[in-house]
Amino acid sequence: MKQVNIVIPSVFIRFTAGKSICPVNATTVRDSLMELVNRHPDLRSQLLADDGQLLAYLQVFVNEDNIRDRDGVETELRDRDEVLIIPALAGG
């Protein structure tokens, strides 16, 4: 298991008791997100569809790379990686 930090966007911090960084132990992005929603169950519907898949309009990055350009939710993590949840922004 690797120690990683999940970076929570403003729009979701009400589901993580105000925390913008959530440390978790995980091997893959999928594991890290499952650990996150297990700790903060109200976040589940914000991140995952009913079938457990990541919602299509959310982007997830590991450090500077979109997991779409790596191995998706199976992207493996290293110690001290950052997993960033990136919702689309449109405010102007």
Binding site: S20, E64, N66, G92
Partner: protein, 256 residues
Amino acid sequence: MEPLTDEERETYQWQMWVPGFGEQGQQRLKDASVMISRVGGVGGAVAYQLAAAGIGTLVLVHAGRVKPSDLNRQLLMTHDGIGKPRIESMKRRLQELNPRLKIVAVDENVSTENVTSLVDQCDLVVDCAPMFEERFAMNAEAVRQRKPMVECAMYELEAHLTTIIPGRSACLACIVPQQPPTCKRQFPVFGAVSGTVGCMAAMEVIKLVSGIGEPLVGRMLRFDLRTMSFRFLNVVRRNDCPVCQSAQAAADSEHP
């Protein structure tokens, strides 16, 4: 091309001292036409900085009338303009700052009906709209017309910024393949946040037009002023992006 006047040389003297910019960069700004979609918290800051820097022409696209709730962030709107068209306030404020600025003021928002003629009038576009429908329409047309688009947006204390070069870097539809279902017209905002990303977007325009520095092409700046954290993300073109595919097909048919 109208050459710089003595008044303009005096006004822009301090920025013409920037290495690599000089009189040539200033002339390029004067010759440029930039469209800004919605000139509110973000777009107002873009417009004000570009007017100050001596851009030649701004095409300003924003419908509606000034409301009291605009005034915490939309710095081109004024208290005495409440109830009047926003476009009037912004024209007045910008021309107080720069009477030489040419303004094409459009009292509409971007739509699929007007976007072609709007983008056609400019060299590059700045996307500051609060609705994804407007952002996607701007993006598709900018890619189709092969015009750069500076993409900037914010929510609460967070913001993002990237520069899209059609055919070369990820477009908005590459970055956001699917529109979120819960997007709201109203959002929490401090003017200092929208102003910060707006000023950065103006700098992207200045770099693109003048040729100095390195625009944020293929990278997205994402920042959170709550924690003062700034991160750079790689944004990559998608082979299955319908906007990029359509533009490429059109280009291929013109130049087989």
